[in-house]
Symmetry: D2
Subunit: 354 residues, 4 copies
């Protein structure tokens, strides 16, 4: 074990921070050095996240406790701030870290969308509230461990992927390798926690209960993120027809990808291709038939299933948006960045039934 | 008003029958002459469907009460029997009706899938338990009122559409007219009542709650039904990539269609095309943005919304599987077959919030 | 039929107004003359309540359209304003009506809690934001039709009951007549729509989904309302142990009353007593075993079931908080106040399954 | 650490076994030696419980693998068989263990209700399908660790408590100590997984979704179990008015107890009494206000909250029926029986939001 890791979390009242804190209770190698907030300074962490009562004797702070954070062989700053605020806060934090002489030692993981898109034009279109942060953007590694494990291990700054994007990319990447062409239809469904802790009309319970609806069809900010990752994989530009849809569930992403392959296949052969592709990726399980939210909720797994008929294929991926789609992926990245086994603190099954 | 209609329902314990009976409490022109069952003969209708207490003073019977059924200017037999049993039962019933000299007067509506597919090869592939019933199949009209209103009005036997098929066809038909080409990705989601009243692992509450999963990807029996209806509309063979998916909801279908048009468009223009296409169809409402289950559950509406970007379009349709997807559509067909306004007994909004 | 009724609704954006409007689409004798708002003047009613598209060609107005409202043999003003604002708005409206010479003709129904409690001390304790309005309070009749039918028929102003209170009173009133003594434990459960359309932490979907919790135990404003109604029934002061609890459902109230009777009984005899008590009350159905939300949601029914063991009894009541617990009860009251059959526009079964 | 523990589970296809297996993935000191079944012999454990894929390389067996089970310093047999079958199976197993000379070394935990009631008359009334098993019953210790920790530590056979009973007893026990008198109203609510994996009408998804209903009011088998435990605590017979109710949730128990104390109190003082009572009980957390399912689901915590007004009190308890209400409690008991810290393998927070 390369030594203890200290972690500080920015934006401690949100679901991302809550889930980091939940998962870190099971991670032996990590100590939470501090949690910041702009709104509830001084409040106990287990009042803000009442399920954590008995696990943390910490209070939210206005600022990163640098001395405590850096008092360890390795230090990781995780930003749970919203897009628009996160990137700039990270830039400032890196400056402060440099003043502490810790520029090299501090690793940063950004849960927001601020640093995900390399193409500035796309970035400005989808994140108009975020500054360009070109230098920071240039060094940020896209944190999808299944595709970028080595780059993440060496990164100083990781842009943690979007939850819908993670499911879609893990479902589609092997198809791209197999030569899928034309427009990929990527039909995604999400639970309400993906919209965050802030009250919104679309997450008002009477509105969301027993409902299902689409939003941002052909206009969602995860579409260019998916296209970027798949285009890297293809070595060519990939076209998508992307839609996000709201389910009556608190957790969970289900992505369904409809595609056409260059040659005929069947489910068994396609499944074998997926198993090869994800052979050494412990958190992707290629399943028979359809994956199911119940088999992944609460866990860091992304389950993937395939169907085929002639050249047509449908691939389905399921994951927990707060774990593999956010905090679990961040811990997986943190493990890689700190030289730990990527499974550390994350190797647990889902809650089923849930 | 052309005079009172008597209705008998076969298979009275299922959700289809229950929903027919619920809706008919609001239909002034109809009297329920009898409800049959093979399993609970003699039981009160409002014990089997306890929400109907106070509305029906009827008991389930082993046989159609022909004398009562035919003692009216118009008689309609609705079969709520499962696929595999329904078609044959209808054939027998028509024979009996002929013995009563009522061959001309009796109209029949089949809620099952037994008579929907014209192509016998497709039929046998997807409904291997159903006899071919070629003569009956030959005279059955596909009962989607928005596309086949005139044929239904003159039909003796109507094959009521599948619930997923109804949503998919209503979403896609205008696209076909606009020349959409290539494979249409049809991604559908359904509530649990669509699986019927019989206990199944997939509708076991602990399994279904907070879950989402796909089933019969590229192998669902509604796919050829949709292809048949859209191919009629296109005058050419339409290709689909179809998947059904299970939501944690009891009622509701949401269909999302991804397609490419021959020319660029935008949402406003596409919406106008849809409004033209459904101009005289009271139960299809073309909405701004996405439709939502909450706006249709409990009602006979199918709400449709569109999105566009260049040549790519996404169309979404929402309906209640037990109403517009089954019993409501059957009453709409019954109204047309009996010369009534198609809205009779059905003109009510959804329950929102639900 | 005594002639057409014109209705105006104050506070048109809330769930109470939405449900009034939904139910009134099925009421042949009523015309909605106007709907007011303080926040969305000029907006179409079917934009605010999208499930009503196709049913109303009205816009929200800042003020009651008096000329239109009074242009009918009978006029009813229904206030869907929140507690604290409703009572005063009604007082003003009555003054204006008097200026129009319509003081006698106008009937008023208050959906809020402002006028429910006769005891001013209790009122001030639970509704500190509401003025005393002693004159108005003095003439307001408590609008629970099953207990107060005659008084409601003659009332000018009706205080519509609270949703939890309705379920609890209908469950407990016969027990009081049977001499139940001691503290009645009244354990109630509610869906989220009872908390209204305004966004709240307790109705944030990720917080409410799959959750269950209590609130205002021994401190809820419906407790004195229930005690008042049951004490009237008893001719003596009734003591309660009352708690409200939040379910993961949008609609529905379930009240469970635990009590001790002066003599031993059994379920059959107790059920017979309930049937006698509610003999002429069409919207209370005494059921065998437990009532169930699914048998009442969307309808104006309150189903009641009983259990007994020696002197101990448990009585359970289920209703839809937006119908029998609010808008349906208001229409039932309106029917009585206007000389109509109380069932008019309300005689429909629940949606089951839902 | 007293050495490795080997565990075998009887009845491996049910939810109890699934949850044991899930929780044991996080327990470093335990090895699962075998899992039996009567219905799916030879099937992989992770096919029957698909969320466990990657965690167990085991197949279901027809018989307990005694050699493997006993090849460790300590051996525990957990029965997940249904009531009616479990007690007899345990009796047989103990005989076999004696033949292996392991009578002393083997500990047994029964998840069923077969051995919970000491009073044979009560037992026969509520478990007519179970033999009396008087000798076995005589040595079985009631496995509620918060009340019986020492007895459990020394027990050879533990009767694991019922899920509703656990919540009710933990809510009410301190009240009994404080002298609560008269009939305690115990109003409990449960998720669907408590009814088990077998398909039932009451856990059919369309029936259960958005529903709430009571069952076995004043006739539930957990009532005498609660009365037995509380009477032990009181040193006198305690009377209950008990009802179980079905929620639309898969996991979770919420128990609400209404009682009258001999003297006036307030919430702060009562809460302090509860904190004293549960001072050294790590899995009971006394919370401010109401507990909530979301704070306990997935965890072994039972959260308890109190309200008071004069002599009247309401106490609320929340827990996960499959963890603290079944498998977690069993592991807690196993830890005590094996000389481990009772928290081993169980010290993790709930999933919130869930």
């Amino acid at each position: 074990m390369p030594g203890e890791v200290h972690v500080a979390i920015l934006g401690g009242t949100g679901y991302g921070a809550g889930e980091m804190l939940r998962l870190l209770t099971q991670h032996a190698g990590v100590r939470v050095a501090g949690v910041t907030t702009t709104s509830q300074v001084g409040e106990r962490v287990d009042r803000v996240h009442p399920h954590l009562r008995g696990f943390y004797d910490l209070r939210l702070e206005a600022k990163v406790p640098w001395a405590r954070l850096l008092d360890a062989p390795q230090a990781v700053l995780v930003s749970g701030l919203p897009s628009g605020a996160s990137g700039a806060a990270i830039e400032s934090a890196l400056t402060v870290a440099a003043e502490y002489g810790a520029a090299e030692r501090l690793r940063v993981i950004d849960l927001s969308g601020d640093l995900r898109l390399r193409d500035l034009r796309r970035h400005r279109e989808h994140y108009p509230e975020t500054p360009s942060l070109e230098a920071l953007r240039g060094q940020a590694v896209y944190g999808l461990a299944e595709l970028n494990r080595e780059a993440i291990a060496g990164a100083r700054v990781v842009a943690n992927p979007g939850c819908l994007a993670t499911a879609a990319i893990l479902a589609a990447a092997p198809l791209i390798r197999l030569g899928a062409s034309g427009v990929l239809a990527v039909d995604t469904k999400t639970g309400s926690s993906g919209s965050g802790r802030q009250l919104k009309e679309t997450t008002h319970h009477p509105t969301r209960h027993a409902d299902f609806r689409a939003y941002k069809a052909l206009a969602h900010q995860h579409e260019p993120e998916i296209a970027q990752a798949l285009s890297d994989e293809a070595g060519d530009r990939v076209q998508l027809s992307f839609v996000a849809q709201s389910m009556d569930a608190a957790r969970g992403i289900f992505a369904t990808v409809h595609a056409t392959l260059p040659a005929e296949t069947d489910a068994a052969r396609l499944r074998a291709e997926y198993e090869r592709y994800y052979a050494d990726r412990p958190f992707v399980r290629v399943v028979s038939g359809s994956p199911a939210l119940q088999d992944v909720v609460g866990s860091n797994f992304c389950d993937v299933g395939v169907a085929a008929r002639g050249r047509q294929v449908i691939v389905m991926a399921a994951l927990d948006n707060l774990v593999k789609g956010m905090a679990g992926a961040a811990i997986q990245n943190m493990n890689l960045m700190c030289g730990l086994d990527e499974r550390t603190g994350l190797w647990a099954p889902s809650l089923r039934p849930v």
